[in-house]
């Protein structure tokens, strides 16, 4: 929960925004490749993937722990001599969240807009309260 002082404090102008964000990606996997016949192979597998993201202050801002990714595949060799194969595969895949998105979203950055007559100078730190 935000403190009262945080809520009252205005964003402050920065010439440049520097932020380092971190993401921990971990996974457990299990795969079984079963060949009941010399020309037939069935692949079964599953991955359990987890993502945890930290903002530029080191606070955990996003935690995903339920990415279950099953995989099923069948390979059949009609020639029975290793000269051909018919295969099918199904899998669910999860893409990790792009870090550039994290750096923009969890770095406390806002692009402030200040409008004024064309003669006005660009916003300066002293005008932060108008942001």
């Amino acid at each position: 929960m935000n403190s009262l002082s945080d809520l009252l404090e205005a964003p402050y102008y920065q010439d440049a925004i520097q932020a380092t964000t971190r993401q921990y990606n971990t996974g457990l996997f299990l795969q079984e490749s079963y060949s009941p016949l010399s020309h037939l192979t069935v692949n079964l597998g599953v991955r359990w993937e987890m993502q945890r993201m930290q903002d530029y202050l080191g606070n955990t801002v996003l935690s995903i722990n339920d990415n279950i990714a099953p995989r099923v595949g069948v390979i059949f060799d009609p020639s029975k001599e290793g000269r051909a194969k018919i295969f099918a595969h199904y899998g669910r895949y999860y893409e990790s969240i792009p870090m550039n998105l994290a750096a923009r979203g969890f770095a406390g950055v806002v692009a402030c807009r200040v409008s004024g007559p064309r003669s006005a100078a660009p916003v300066r730190s002293s005008q932060a309260a108008r942001c």
Binding site: Y13, I17, A19, F29, S33, G108, V110, R113, S115
Partner: protein
């Protein structure tokens, strides 16, 4: 000096250094295999002309206007063709000034995998593989706008007004509001 934005074209430098290491604790059935990998990546977005980083980027947001409004030197070439009504200098937007947004990215994602294979026969051949993998992605990002210190901004001009977009940082714990 005024740099036309499109002439200070984007220049991106990207460097990658990759290291991999694989080791097996033993050979044969039940061997654990470990793989560690790391790629250092950094890239930078800069203007070709360094001086363009010292000037605010300006976008003239307007409906159809004449190029002569922005570059008076071409006014003589912008007369509309009376027969066809064709205006050779109609523009819907115009960019001038400095480079705009610049960025430095440094990514360091060390990671590794450890897995074990098991082979056995039971109503056919089985190959069982299991293990875990992990990756820690550290992503350093620095962004800034062209202009002078204390007044770095993107400038959008419409009608008689300027709108300045500058970078601000929120105090810790404060969420951005739209």
């Amino acid at each position: 000096m005024d740099y036309v934005a499109n002439m200070s074209n984007e220049k991106t430098r990207t460097n990658d250094i990759t290291a991999r290491w694989t080791a097996a604790s033993s050979t044969g059935v039940g061997a654990w295999t470990r793989l560690w990998a790391c790629t250092l990546n950094n890239s930078a977005i800069r203007p070709v002309f360094p001086a363009a980083a010292q000037v605010n980027y300006v976008e003239w947001d307007t409906t159809a206007a004449s190029l002569a409004q922005f570059n008076p030197s071409v006014a003589g070439q912008c007369a509309a063709n009376l027969a066809t009504g064709f205006n050779p200098c109609a523009v819907y937007g115009y960019q001038s000034g400095g480079y705009g947004e610049m960025e430095d990215i440094n990514a360091f994602p060390p990671g590794g995998t450890a897995q074990e294979h098991q082979h056995f026969s039971r109503a056919g051949l089985h190959e069982l593989k299991y293990g875990f993998d992990g990756e820690l992605v550290q992503y350093g990002d620095k962004i800034w706008y062209s202009g002078l210190d204390g007044a770095r901004a993107l400038v959008f001009t419409t009608g008689g007004d300027n709108t300045y977009y500058s970078l601000f940082r929120l105090p810790p714990g404060v969420q951005a509001r739209s």
